[in-house]
Amino acid sequence: MPTDHDRSNIDIAHLRAQHRLMWRIRALEQAALRGLDDKVVLGAIHPSIGQEAVAAGVVGSLRADDILLSTHRGHGHTLAKGASSEAMLRELLGRVGGNCGGKGGSMHIADFRVGMLGANGVVGANIVIAAGAAHAIKLKGEDKVVCCIFGDGAINRGPFLEGLNWAAVFKLPVLFVCEDNGFAATTRTSSMTAGGGPAVRARAIGLPAEEVDGNDILAVEATARAMIAAVRAGEGPRFLHAKTYRLTGHTGVDTAPYRPADELAARRKEEPILRAADLLRAAGVPESEILADQSVAEAEMDAAYRAAFDAPFPGPEEAFRDVQDIGDPAEGAF
């Protein structure tokens, strides 16, 4: 794993900002889980609690006009790309003012204004779409980069092969990120995956690939930055395998009885926000400021949650809007 970033000369102000961002992601997802308890988040929620360093480190290293495609477990990526927390919570509650007007929910959250082209309810489906977004960038002669994040389960789907090959053949500006949390839904990915893993597969297709400790914000960010620079310089696609760990179940209602309690306890000690806080502490940042990052994030998400809770649902006419320009969706029905 690359350790060439200099830990003796950490940019504390930047690390502090990343610590805040990771807390915002976690607090957003805690608010979403509260919405499940309150029975106002009605659909499935796939939390990324414990995986925040990938969102902050990778997506935080993109330019504002770069493009992002994410997964069903994509709240953190979306927030890191610049989506509004209130719009996201409104979307999760299916309310007016949500990023998609309440019509997508958690699994289809998208914010095109910030270059976020969508989460996806189908594992691996975003890989070929990302290759195509990069294809358009190349056709138009722009210098944007596409970042495509998917889970470890996705590497067993066909679009993984097809999308990586496409990006390599056409030498497209895309960074593929495998956010490996160890589980494909509720099955250990290692038990269902042959061969040497994501990076080995990517290299076999011709993409330079690196593995990184996905809970180490400094390592993730240093590696992502170098890869994004190479992609932007026209060197073709790159592949980042970030190893992290999912601290929750597959969905908000999955208690994950399929893993031993001591495993979870051990992994809790290695989670990325604690590790970032340790670095801040070691650099002399006062405890009160470290705690303030958490409380400020929680206050933001509490307010966003209340606003979402109070927002109205979209009307039934939305069922027929944005289906397509021609033809009447209601024609011949009822």
């Binding site: 990023n99 189908v122 033809g327």
Partner: protein, 320 residues
């Protein structure tokens, strides 16, 4: 008016649209050498390999990448070679292309044309012969076009390329060499407007794609027997021209729908049900048996809807 083939009509439609809009590009296997049927011949010389792009045999990537490229503002024309092969990219078409505009709350459009040649083509057997248009007519968000003539193949393809929503564009492989008159200059055929092939007062026949020509020959035979057929070429299945079909069926009082696709769950059922519910007139369908298409000519021909079958169905409906 120029007399050109169904294939040449499509080629000139694409070339005209690519000249008009530099964001239009085509992608698929073998396009650089003219496409599997020659329908892209000469285009790479004019537009270059970036805009007439070859692709790996990678249907999910061809279609999925085009979804991404369309959401980023380009207008891809996607070649799938055979509608049968496009089944390798059903997620990309049905879950992604067709849904993106709606599920993202109108933040994006997916302006792409998915060319999926359909139909029986001598001894092409079970995986190169299917007519799957009803599958896509079932999917909200998709436009489905099935041109039957050179003029329509030009005018509908141009409309498809200008459409801001995904269009499943189904050319019939047996029609590539068919010649016909195509209007000079800008020729656009709107979606959802049927073509009246011939007028008659005894029965309405609705069809599309290559089957229209079979129905036309049957109508000619029936005319010789004193039976007048109002023959309607639907041209697009979604949107479909309900008004034209209902108007004709209410005049004639009888409706036959003929299509090459399997009858069970075919689009003929939708038309029959609509007309029966609305007008209560006598309806009948003529579609293929629910059997895969065989290789040997007698086996292949056994599932074909013929002119004789069409004539017999009409005579039976009329009690003559």
């Amino acid at each position: 008016m120029a007399r050109i083939s169904y294939m040449e009509a499509a080629r000139s439609a694409l070339a005209e649209e690519m000249r008009r809009d530099r964001l239009v590009w085509a992608v698929g296997e073998d396009l650089g050498r003219g496409g599997v049927f020659g329908q892209y011949k000469g285009l790479v010389e004019e537009f270059g390999p970036e805009r007439i792009s070859d692709a790996p045999i990678s249907e999910a990537a061809i279609l999925g990448a085009s979804v991404g490229a369309a959401m980023m503002g380009t207008r891809p024309v996607v070649e799938m070679r055979f509608s049968d092969f496009a089944l390798c990219a059903v997620d990309e078409l049905v879950n992604q292309a067709a849904k993106a505009r709606f599920m993202f709350g109108g933040q994006t459009r997916v302006p792409m044309v998915v060319r999926e040649p359909i139909g029986m083509w001598r001894s092409s057997a079970a995986q190169h012969s299917q007519s799957l248009e009803s599958w896509y007519a079932h999917i909200p968000g998709l436009v489905v076009a099935c041109p039957s003539t050179p003029a329509d193949n030009k005018g509908l393809l141009k409309s498809a390329i200008r459409c801001d929503d995904p269009v499943v564009y189904m050319e019939h492989k047996n029609l590539w060499p068919l010649e016909g008159e195509v209007p000079d200059g800008e020729h656009l055929v709107p979606f959802g407007v049927a073509r009246t092939v011939r007028e008659g007062r005894d029965i309405t026949i609705v069809s599309w794609s290559a089957q229209v020509h079979v129905c036309e020959r049957a109508a000619e035979t029936l005319a010789g027997q004193g039976i007048g057929v109002d023959l309607i070429d639907l041209r697009t299945l979604w949107p479909w021209d309900r008004a034209a079909v209902l108007a004709s069926a209410s005049r004639t009082g009888r409706l036959l729908i003929a299509h090459e696709a399997v009858q069970v769950g075919g689009f003929g059922a939708e038309i029959a049900a609509t007309v029966a519910e609305t007008l209560g007139v006598k309806v009948r369908r003529l579609g293929a048996p629910r059997a895969p298409i065989g290789y040997a000519p007698p086996v292949e021909d056994a599932v074909r809807i013929t002119e004789a079958m069409t004539v017999a169905a009409v005579r039976d409906m009329l009690g003559r």
